[in-house]
Amino acid sequence: MNVHLTNHKLSKVFGGVRALQDVSFEVFQGEILGIIGPNGAGKTTLFNCITGIYPPTRGEIILRKERKNLVGLKPAEVANLGIARTFQNSRVFSGMTTLENVMVGCHLWTHAGLGGALFVGNRVRKEEEEVIKKSLALLEFLDLAPLANTLANALPYGLQRRLEIARAMATGPQLLLLDEPTCGMNPHESKAIMEVIRKIRDRGITILIIEHDMKVIMTISDRVICFDHGEKIAEGPPEAIQKDPRVIDAYLGREEDAITAG
């Protein structure tokens, strides 16, 4: 398998807090890589470093095909290299409609600027038409089409999460970073999202997914990485991770701790 993205010895320090410590791992082309870990383990920090929200304190993030180090790039430049993401807390554009949200996602591969806005020529009109067509298709893909004209903040939370996925997909990514996509969903909705994630992978898109719902992560992932206190403590197929004593320790606490506490 080809490597899509390499993280080499990533560290991120916030004041005295070490959110990430020498984290190295590889993401393979076309896989679903699950990332788990207790709260504050550094999962979202990792996503923020990859997407350029803030730079890591040390380390490299290499996009293999482009042979490019992502460290130091701005979020827009990272997006331009085919990396899209969703956020842990829904961050849809609440004053825009569902359709418009996805249309904003098409910004990356369209070109009309100030001139295009003022003198709407044939090229701009065609581009807009394509944006609408593609956005509607994505809404269809995520079962949001009937709500195309609803303001995003009027959508229930679960659908806002879906909308965020549609919006990220609109950028045309090769790598999609999902930060707890099933957070706040009931089991039925989670199951539907898993189906969607699989379909996205079948389109040839590599997926990195942070998830707290163990059932989701263990069913959907090809491989799983577990973080604790900013360090990578385990990596492997889901079955192995589930049995890994370090992972169990991280989630349930160490046996000695329990004994001392008791």
Binding site: A76, T97, A117, R125, I132
Partner: protein
């Protein structure tokens, strides 16, 4: 399917046509005093809409907008003073200089967020006013610059109120056209995305710094045009008309009209200019009426005078069409 509703295809709205027709015959059927009022309303509509690009679209709270207005007016004044440059050549230069000023202000604004933008722009507005007041060699200081010759177009000398009314009317429609087109474009969507959530917008590949600068440049350039037209009509400019008070009034027009709401802001500018005129006999106390009106508006119409922006998106229009 959606072809009919893409930007560029203009759909005739009878109400809109009536208003446009009325605005063109207005000076012939009304007393001159009202034509004068309408001219000033037009200037404020341009100013409020240009600020609407910066605040309404890009979401950057600008408290120094009158500075761009002043730069536009003074560009004409100074070019006239030194080179007797005619209005028709000064007008585009006013827009360019004001736009460059906007770009200049945009650069420090990129480094700050939220409320701090208000402070930076507030300071900037005061700096411009101080320059106008104190660089006497260039601006003649508080005395102002006067004596610009009336503008000429192809032999027509603009001298009556009606002439200036039409001059400003043309630019009001130009600015409104620009606003409507921007609002429906890829650029407008990106601006609104920045306003709504910068982090999301940038993670979708929107270059926020560049677009914020563009908003400032464009908004400032249009305000500069308003300044140049005002200077041409009054044939006199002084720093007094371009201070913090003006910035705040323009901002109030945008807020009263509803931030980002294009027809609302036209209405907001008209109301806030006309109310104090109606109560002119009470001299300075008339500003109380503006204050009271604003308090009531903010209580009963916090979203702006037209209420919540009725969003007609492509999709609504598509559905309507299918139902027919």
């Amino acid at each position: 399917m959606s072809q009919q509703y893409l930007p560029g295809k203009w759909k005739a709205n009878p109400w809109l046509l009536a208003i446009i027709a009325f605005s063109f015959i207005f000076p012939w059927i009304s007393p001159e005093y009202y034509v004068e009022l309408a001219f000033n309303v037009g200037i404020y509509v341009i100013l409020a809409q240009s600020l609407n690009i910066i605040i309404g679209f890009a979401g950057l709270l600008n408290l120094g907008h009158a500075a761009f207005f002043g730069v536009g007016a003074y560009t004409y004044g100074i070019l006239w003073k030194f080179f007797q440059l005619p209005f028709i050549l000064a007008l585009p230069l006013s827009a360019v200089f004001a736009a460059l000023t906007g770009l200049l202000l945009g650069l420090p604004v990129l480094r700050v967020r939220h409320d701090y933008i208000a402070i930076v722009t507030l300071g900037f507005g005061e700096v411009i006013k101080l320059i106008l007041n104190n660089w006497t060699a260039l601006t003649d200081g508080p005395n102002g610059i006067y004596g610009m010759a009336p503008p000429q177009f192809l032999g027509l000398i603009l001298k009556s109120r009606i002439h200036y009314y039409y001059l400003v009317l043309v630019f009001v429609y130009l600015v409104l056209f620009i606003m409507v087109r921007l609002g429906r474009s890829r650029l407008g969507r990106a601006w609104i995305a920045i306003r709504e959530d910068e982090v999301s917008a940038s993670s979708l590949g929107i270059k926020i710094d560049r677009l914020k600068l563009l908003a400032f440049t464009l908004g400032a350039g249009l305000a500069g045009i308003a300044g140049c037209i005002l200077a041409a009509k009054h044939r006199f400019i002084s720093p007094a008309g371009f201070g913090f008070y003006e910035s705040i009034i323009i901002l109030c027009m945008v807020i009263v009209g509803g931030i980002g709401n294009i027809p609302g802001v036209v209405l907001g500018a008209s109301i806030l200019y006309i109310i104090p005129e109606i109560f002119r006999e009470f001299s300075d106390f008339r500003m109380i009426t503006v204050g009271v009106a604003m308090i009531f508006l903010m209580i009963f119409r916090p979203e702006g005078i037209l209420g919540k922006e009725k969003r007609k998106t492509i999709w609504v229009q598509m559905e309507k069409r299918e139902m027919r």
